[in-house]
Structure formats: C-alpha cells, structure tokens
Symmetry: C2
Subunit: 421 residues, 2 copies
C-alpha cells in the first residue's frame, strides 16, 4: 500500500462532493434545510462514562475517568454523562471530582427517577440530572412494577425538586419504542409542562428502524416544546442511522459513547456519528468539533477497556480510506471524490491505494511508478501490471514484493534501451 | 460472568417481543405489512467473493473460495457473486470451478458493462451476469468518460447478448445517489424495457441516509417492473439501516458480505442484516436461513482475511448478549425480552449476566447464589452485594473473585447460625 497526496491541487478540498465543502448537497436526494431538521444544529451527550461503564469490559478508575472526561471536553462534546452516584461510593466521589474539573462541557449524571437518587445527584454538583424510568409494558411488569399514573406523579415531584436546585433536568422513558404511544405522549406532555429541559427517547433494546424513529420523534416534536434527546442501542446495526433520522425529525440531542461501548454491543458510536454528520452537515461539524482528535480519543478508550478498534470502524478502521480495485484506484487518482464521501484530511488521516493484488489496474501501478521515480511508457506500465497481477494471482503480495517487480522490470527496460543505443 | 438458562419456562420463546415469535409487531411504530414493502420476502446476493475480495486484507486462493461458497450455500443465501473473470487468469478459473460445484445458490459474476467482459462471464457458466457502470458526474468525468447516451446504447447491446445466452442479467449504476435522477430513471426504464431481471442501485461511496434511500427506491419502484437490487457501503455507518429502508420502499435484493468486508470499510454485513431482519420479519428469516451457522461462517471468513470479529458485532460480538447494569440484570432474570430484542438461542448462542462490577445489583447476585446453591435471605444477599460493589469499586473483579466473596460470606453466615443453634 502506498500513501498518496492529493493528486492535483484542485483535489479533495475544492471538490464539490467532499465533506469539507460548504455545500453538502452532493446528492439530489438529500435536503438538510427542512425547517424541522436539526442535522446542522445538534448537540452531543457523551455517555462513555455512564453507558460505557455498562460495557462488559469496562472498569474505569478515577484517573482514567478524568483522562477520558478531559479528552471528550477537548474534542468539543456538549455534555458528559456520568454513572449514577448511587451506584457505589467511588462513583459518588468520581462524580464530584469530575464536576470540579472546570470543563467546558456540562456534566450530567443519569439516575433512576426517584427523590433519593436525584438528591445524591444534585449533591455532587452536576449541571444536569438525567432522570430515567421504564415505560414499556415489559418494564412496568418485570422491572419496577409501577403504573404510568405512579410514574407521572413521581416524575413531577422529582422534576420540581431538581429545578428548585437550579439544575438542568431531563426526563426519559426507557424502551420507548415498545411503550404505548398514548402513555408516552401523556407523560412527555406532563413533564414538558412541568418545565423539563429535555425529554428523552430511548431505544433501549436496539430494535428501532429509521422510519419508526422518524415517525415517533416527528409526533413528539408536535407535543412538547422542550429539547428532545435520543439514545439508540446498536443490536440491529441501526444506531447511527436512527440518530440521523431522529435529528431530521426534530430531535436536538444525540447520546453517544466512544466506539459505541455500552450494554451488550452498545450505542451510537461518537466516531461513526461524526462520519455520518460530517457528510450531512460539514460546516457545522467541522467548525464545532475537534475532528483531528477523534483517533486519539478512540485509542484512549479502546486501551482503557482492552479492545481493538474494529477493522471496519468508520473513519479510523485500518482500511477506511484504502482503495484496492483497479477501477476505484484509477478514479481516485484522478479525483478522490469519485470513491470517497469524506476527505480523510479532515480527521488528520491519509488515504492509501493498495496496488499489490490481482484486482489492481495499470493506472494505480503508473502512480506508484511515478512515486518511485521509475519512468515508463503506458504500454510498459500495462506490461508490468500484467506481471504483478500474475504474481498476485498465485500468492498474497506485500508492497515490497510489488516494488521489487517494478524495479527489476525497470532495470530490464534500461538494459534493453542501453543495447538499442 | 455467568451463563443463565431461560429463567422460566415461559421465557424467551413464548414471549411476544422476542424475534422468535410469529407476530413481530412488538412496536406500535412498525408496520411490516405495507403493500410495497419486501421486508418479509427479500433475497440476499452474497458478495464476499467479489466485494469481499476488494477488502484490503483479502487474498482468497481457490480452496478458500470453495469453502466460503459452500458455507454461504449452506447458510441459505440466494445468490453468490464472484469477482470478474476478466480480473486475472485465476479469477477466470475459479469462477468456472465454483459454477461447477452444483450449489443451490445461483452464481453471479460482476463485470463492467461491455461486450468483452460479458462474453468472458457467460463462458464461465454463471447463472447470471451483474453489469455495472458509473453514472455519477464524477465517474462520467474521472473514470470512464462516457455520456449517458453512450452508456445506454452499450448497455442495451450487452443486455441483449446476455439474455440471448439464456443467462440472468442485472444492470446497475454505480454511485447512484450522486447521479442525476433523470439520467438514472431514463437508463433504468430503458433496461427494464429491454428485459433485465434486475436493476441495481449502489451507494458506492457510503454517503446515503435511510430517507434518501427510501425516496429513491420508492420512485424507482414506480418506474420499473423488474426486481431492484441494492448495494450499500458503510462509510457513514448506515449500511444496515439503508438496506432495511430499501426493502420497505420496494427493493427485492440486498447485497451483503460476511462481516461486511469490501472496499474501504465495506458494505452491509450479512450478520448485522440478519440481526435487523430477524427482528422485523422473524418468521421469514428464521425459516429461510440457517441462522445457527452464522458464527461459523463469520469465523471462516475472519480467519481467511486475518481479522478479529469486531467487539461490537451484532449477534456474534463477544458481549452482544451480556447484561451488566443491576437494573438490566434484574429485569432480564424475570423476563429476557425486557432487555433483549433477539433471543440468542435462534443463533445457537446464550446470554450472560455479568455480576462482578460496581454497577451490579442484588437481584443478579441472588440469581448467582442460586446457581451456586448458596441459600441466603434477601437481606443477606443485599449485604453481600454491598461487599461486592465495594470491592469492584477498587479494582476489576473476575467471576471467581465474586464467587469467592459469595462463598466466604456464606461460610460466615453458617458459622453465625451454628453459634445461634
């Protein structure tokens, strides 16, 4: 594989389709200017230190929590959500410690919707309290055993308390997509009137689809006037798309965690959401978030929970900007926008063109020859390309194998030319 | 972590929300019975041996190709797509070999839309030829340099040839979402009238969103009468959701690869698509595909291209069915559907409840005590839970640490009781 710079000065930056450009409307099928859509003005509630702590491998000591909180703050997330201080004595202490760091991001903690938990949360000095309670028939029956009437009564009492302390408050249902629609809207309307800052919609089991999300959020947008936060689990692979659909329908806040770590296979990953949103709303995302820090934040968290960054991770997966097929490589060399929707430079990364395979093409090989300073005619490049494809048809080639073939072919050429002269 | 069986006989199988049940309408927000939707009658075009060969790490020798083709056939995919026989002499031989295996799945190969490539494809004995050409202004300008009129003329000629050989034919544009809508519809209408079996829509750069997909496919559904195949890259994390939206809008075929391997970070993964569709259309998916073989197919391909299965892979990621937070574990023990949208048993897998963390709860600990045969009252369980949370607050605990705490606490209890007697 060989790194390539932008092949021409008019390459990735000035091209109309790369995400670095002011006008994102590279597709005739996308309109980011719907009056209801918040794709170009959303906020991130980063929950690595809450949802992420529910990841099977996660154990964050105080020092690690502080490192992660600072890294997220430098990345530019709007909110950082912490594990409930009721969970354990150390969780309580850590919550206080992080509130005391003086970060730009607002600090939230996520607690059950009862007075005792809310009081502990406020004690810690958080900027906001995220209240949650299950509203699906499953959770009403098998979890807390409370009716919607009781949930509402408790919620209003807790909300009044948190507001009286001058602290932001969110009320979220859990498993919202398996909750009765009328129950949900009744509750959300009541807490909106009680003055919550946000209501939360959660796909706790990860079963929602983008159209389900759009429909529910669109309906809710007509019922409440407060902000709408959304939380999507990734059990069925839709957590990024669901977040995008929620914003299109009027949601204002998206919950993320670094690499998506959380219960089971986790939630909307911060990095994948950035990949999605930088294509939809490049100006907003590039100006607001420190995208070049993404890789470092991901490496910090991956190391803290002892996982590898998935090979297919958007943006930072090892081959996210690697081009291999000959037909792709040829076009990428002429203009990267042909096969790249995101300019890797925005994230401080570079593209690679893999030339050592049987599906390579002569345009990619010609570019490599130029990098190596080997002068050949197009016919000669085509001939050596055939040799490379022949070798790569037999066994895997490394880049130095390919380079060796190019060099030895070039030496042969020079010998022939010397003889002719 | 401790494996749990279904906690009660009426557990995962008979529960109305798990995907194993006939009625998938666990959500009031989802309707799978739209007349236009194909979510319960889609087909899979499995492209690990074509798109997958464009993955940076992929080098499949003949033996590996045969193994993968057989495994996919046993899994029950409808089509297997192979690298163009024009790519290299070995690709040509391998295509012939796989066509000769007598698999139930139909064999396709994917070639550029020209007569030479189409003839090579037919020579190999494939069941179908997938023709592709770039239609976006980018690809017209920087790749093949052909106008839409020329593309159409060539396409019709090649289609007539393939049909005359009694072979299935698909015509696909490339980078469809950045192509001019009128150009696209004009081309698709012409090839439909020429009698193609399928038209293909490809999000080659991975920039489409579910609503863009729905809109384009819905429009196309009204223009052509043939089948509609769709191909989604995952650069912005939407490849699974886009496939679902395409089916809702009337697409009939979805391209997949095992673990999503392909150019850059790949396409819709077979496993993640199964996770999505088994929730949307459980009867269809469970009866049609050999879901218990998924893990084996994924392991075969992961080993062939030397990658790890991502930690957060739907279904087969190491923690996809691990529950950790106390509030989750409690409800899962009462009824797995509370926090699981998919019954792991459908895929031949089991769930785990992690109890060795500070966010565990006493209901999970009680279940572990029961598994270990340690009799305790609820108050005693609560007391030992506090001890476990205290330890887990200081350092990561392993399951044997937790079990040791439970055993030693239980011995203390027995000593006390002996003294009292």
């Amino acid at each position: 594989m060989c790194g390539t710079d932008a092949p021409d000065a008019a390459g990735p930056v000035s091209n109309g389709s790369h995400a670095s450009k002011a006008n994102p409307a590279s597709s005739p099928y996308q309109n980011v200017n719907d009056f209801i859509s918040n794709v170009a003005r959303f906020k991130i509630i980063e929950s690595t230190l809450r949802e992420g702590e529910q990841f099977a491998n996660a154990f964050f000591d105080t020092e690690t929590k502080i490192k992660i909180a600072k890294a997220l703050d430098e990345f530019g997330v709007d909110y950082i959500e912490l594990t409930s201080p009721v969970s354990s004595p150390q969780s309580y202490e850590d919550c206080k410690t992080i509130c005391g760091l003086g970060l730009k991001a607002k600090i939230l903690t996520h607690v059950r919707c009862n007075m005792e938990d809310a009081k502990k949360a406020v004690e810690c000095g958080v900027d906001g309290v995220d209240l949650v309670i299950g509203t699906s028939s499953f959770l009403q029956k098998y979890s807390h055993g409370k009716s919607i009437a009781i949930i509402k009564e408790t919620a209003l009492e807790v909300i009044q308390y948190v507001k009286s302390q001058g602290v932001e408050v969110r009320f979220s249902s859990e498993d919202s997509f398996r909750s009765d629609l009328v129950d949900l809207l009744t509750l959300y309307k009541a807490v909106d009137q009680a003055g919550v800052n946000r209501v939360g919609v959660a796909d706790t089991v990860g079963g929602a689809t983008p159209r389900m999300v759009y429909d529910l959020i669109r309906t809710l947008r007509g019922v409440v006037s407060c902000d709408i936060e959304t939380h999507f689990h990734d059990d069925t692979g839709c957590a990024v798309a669901n977040a995008h659909s929620a914003l299109e329908a009027g949601a204002t806040h998206i919950d993320t965690s670094v690499l998506g770590i959380g219960e089971r296979n986790g939630i909307t990953p911060l990095g994948a959401l950035m990949a999605r949103m930088v294509v939809t709303a490049p100006d907003y995302v590039i100006n607001k978030y420190n995208l070049k820090a993404l890789k470092e934040v991901e490496e910090l968290v991956a190391s803290a929970v002892q996982i590898n960054i998935p090979f297919n991770n958007p943006i930072t997966g090892f081959c996210a900007f690697t081009h291999k097929a000959g037909i792709h490589a040829k076009a990428i060399l002429a203009n990267p926008s042909t096969y790249e929707i995101i300019d890797p430079a925005i994230f401080g990364l570079t593209r690679y063109i893999s030339i050592n395979s049987r599906i390579t093409g002569w345009n990619a090989i010609r570019a490599r020859c130029e990098q190596l300073g080997l002068k050949m005619t197009d016919d000669e490049v085509k001939e050596v390309t055939a040799k490379i494809k022949q070798m790569a048809d037999i066994r895997p080639l490394a880049i130095d194998d390919t380079d060796s073939i190019l060099h030895s072919y070039h030496i042969e050429l020079q010998k022939k030319q010397a003889l002719q002269v």
